[in-house]
Symmetry: C2
Subunit: 495 residues, 2 copies
């Protein structure tokens, strides 16, 4: 897979481009179909204005085709209609003429011009979505072919509801080596992603008569909705710079479980400190509480080796959840659940009823990918790419968005960003979403969402799937919507 | 895939086979490793006896290699050891000599000879398991490769929780054409097999405050266990020659749903009659009851076109469940749920929480298989094969197992067989299971299982994955365990 950076960066601040008349017609549509009121010249001007604002093909510096060529292309008898449209836009400042270089889209500098539009990929900037263009299609297909060719006929039937033994063996070795997990093939359950595994745990908790679960505050609102839908009562525990504040856990004896993200708290981006880990394990053992470790980002740390998982410290009370959704692709629906021995029989029994076997072909393909080392090589490759994208994002923020403060440690696929007090989270979110970026708000991650008009707030930006050009664009949009910093003599911001 | 019949049938009643000395040594092992007490001749005889009893390579009619060649192969100085072994077995009746044709394994006729042992495949005779050797690996791999190559990067991310639109489009067309379903892409939900879809429905029923569900009696015990585990109260409705006895549905106003198998009742093997279909739909509409149609065997009918699905008759009250587990392979975990419009939003909402996207690569591969017509071609191929296997099973039963009565219409992947009154279901089951056949008992399908020592009972034999040789063997074992028919002058059997 070629890195996407190189291709996508090219168009934005690259060499001057000249548009042909037929290229312009492809953008505007035929003259007869130009929408809006007024004569043809007015409607052409309106459409061009729109295109320049959108910042796509009509970027600052783009040379427009000669009026005569445009008239011919549109089948107009007189070029004067086009001349009128060009003049109108030039008068408004959208176009600039330069001797010998024709009419071009004006470049008004980085502050005032519309931000360059690099069309974002689907789900752009959604936290937790990996760079899907980097999915190793060739390697995956080779592994799948190998699996399908070598598998026994019996493997196509109803197998082990825990998943194919070969995958559990490879996966246990991988989790021991790379996540410090206390993993054995027998204890692993292959599931259809972390949400699927969490559903299984939640149903077992609900059926077991301990339906209260504590979650981090802030945390993923989607995960809380899942837990509530499965009949659990969700309570929050605050998060600070050391992760989940174990001392703030109320009535631990009434808790069935604590769900947390120790490697890289979502969304705050901090790891759970060693002291907190120890305190949490003591609490879990004392009160019979299940710790559910969502290791969604355990593979990605950029400044050092990622911390080992909590499950490795206390396998008797911890259920580890992981998946390839952040490392390969969500569409594979491959995850794992490593539960304490006391929980495993119930989970396997329930699983066998609803999923009498696993997606065996995918299991065998992933086992092959693990066995050959292709998976860890892919992790190394993507880690380098994500590290560079995170760096680009923090650099752009520092340079172009004063008051926007990155939070957390260098890891994961998302960057939490605190907004300056003169911004409004809802306004910034609306602006970036209007541009196609599925950025999340820190407000929605809180168990009690703050009032929408409170000053400040924050963003959760998924950077893994964003090209540097898209990152630059996104920062520009966010900064524009977040308002200018107060001038030195201005009164202090409210709040 | 070459049809397995040709290869497997060959050995059993095919042309006479001559075993070479090296072939024999491959079966017995080296002379020094022959187990048991006694001299070499005795131990060789014991091993040969064992092999003849097992009925594998040493089948009736198999010509044994000349004693001199065997002696040479085993490195024995004198052929007399081998001669002694042969003579011993001939005296016991295991071997027969024929002039000019060497020594051969005696053929003692179908009644007395040990049943030929064709080692059954894993899960042999388990009802509902297709012929896994017939899985179109090449076609599936080609479809998967095409899907993986052509898919957009965005398809690797979080997509539609209902499953990929391309698959829903192809599947809706297929279900309309081949199952008479009232299917549109928007109403379909792709799930991980029928059990997964049923779990989703059951959870929605339980959460909706109508947790009582009626099931057919008899029906699949595994399915009942699933429903109970999801918190539903399960009641039974008797089944007769027309399928579910609608008139026997008690308190329909208190029912949330009725789960049934209209195309081919499991296990009784009868289709739901037209009159019953109409009565059931009227009842469902009157009382707001959801009909859950498990179309597990809708693709397989051998005497005529399969009846269209109930959902096509009443899409407003029927949820159709189907999968490729019976047509391609359980390990693909591909199924569908076509729910009434009033149910769809709740189901999709719940699904999106636990399964934010589908197994998109598998979805696109299956869509390709449907699009090219390879799937329907595969259905035609397997239908012919299963029809011939079912015929072999009923023929063998008629010929070799008096009193064993096939039930139901020619369809599906299993044959229900009533046992004669002088048999005990538990004893017959124990015997065939000891031979590796996962035959089910009719008794376990009843909501109130009959006492284990009642006379008669019945078997549910999955024939799709059984070679003709295995079918013959299975019938022999069952017949032997089911006891001989009473002689004409004997007192009538109890009961």
């Amino acid at each position: 897979m070629a890195p996407h950076e190189d291709q996508s960066t090219a168009g934005v601040r690259g060499p001057i481009e000249a548009l042909t008349a037929s290229g312009l017609r492809a953008l505007t549509g035929d003259a007869a179909t130009l929408p809006g009121p007024g004569g043809l010249g007015v409607r052409l001007a309106a459409r061009l204005r729109e295109l320049i604002r959108a910042g796509g093909a009509l970027r600052p510096g783009t040379v427009l085709p000669p009026t005569r060529a445009v008239a011919a292309e549109f089948g107009l008898s007189r070029g004067v209609v086009v001349v009128a449209a060009y003049e109108q836009l030039a008068a408004e400042g959208f176009l600039a003429g330069r001797q010998g270089a024709g009419t071009r889209v004006a470049d008004l500098g980085p502050g005032a011009r519309p931000a360059p539009k690099a069309p974002p990929p689907e789900e752009a900037a959604r936290p937790g979505v990996p760079d899907l263009g980097g999915f190793p299609r060739g390697r995956w297909l080779a592994a799948y072919r190998q699996a399908l060719t070598a598998m026994a006929d019996g493997d196509l039937g109803y197998g082990d509801p825990r998943g194919h033994a070969r995958l559990r063996t490879e996966l246990a070795a991988h989790l021991r080596a790379f996540r410090g997990a206390d993993a054995s093939p027998d204890a692993l359950l292959v599931v259809g992603g972390a949400a699927d595994g969490l559903t299984l745990l939640a149903d077992t908790l609900a059926a077991g008569g301990r339906p209260r679960i504590a979650v981090e505050d802030p945390s993923s609102p989607r995960t809380r909705a899942l837990l509530r839908r499965r009949g659990l009562e969700v309570t929050g525990v605050p998060v600070d710079g050391e992760g989940l504040a174990v001392d703030a856990l109320r009535e631990p004896g009434r808790l069935g479980a604590v769900l947390l993200t120790p490697a890289h708290q979502y969304p705050a981006g901090v790891p759970l400190s060693a002291g907190r880990r120890q305190a949490l394990v003591r609490l879990a053992r004392e009160h019979g509480v299940l710790l559910i470790e969502d290791d969604y980002n355990g593979a990605f740390r950029y400044d050092r080796e990622p911390p080992g998982c909590l499950q490795g410290l206390a396998p008797d009370v911890t259920a580890l959840l992981g998946s390839v959704s952040k490392t390969l692709a969500p569409a594979l629906r491959l995850g794992w659940l490593l539960a304490p021995p006391a929980w495993a029989p119930r989970l396997v029994h329930d699983r066998a009823l609803t999923h009498p076997t696993g997606h065996t072909l995918d299991h065998l393909a992933f086992a092959h990918l693990l066995h050959t080392g292709d998976y860890t090589a892919h992790l190394r490759r993507t880690r380098r790419r994500y590290q560079s994208r995170r760096l680009h994002l923090t650099t752009e923020l520092a340079a172009a968005a004063p008051g926007f403060t990155p939070l957390g440690t260098p890891g994961g696929l998302h960057l939490p960003v605190a907004l300056p007090p003169w911004s409004r989270e809802a306004e910034v979110l609306a602006a970036v979403r209007a541009e196609g970026y599925d950025v999340q708000g820190l407000g929605a991650c809180a168990l009690t969402p703050p009032p929408p008009d409170r000053p400040g707030g924050g963003l959760v930006i998924g950077f893994a799937a964003l090209t540097p050009a898209a990152i630059t664009h996104l920062v520009g949009v966010a900064r524009a919507a977040g308002g200018p910093p107060p001038s030195p003599g201005a009164p202090p911001p409210p709040g």
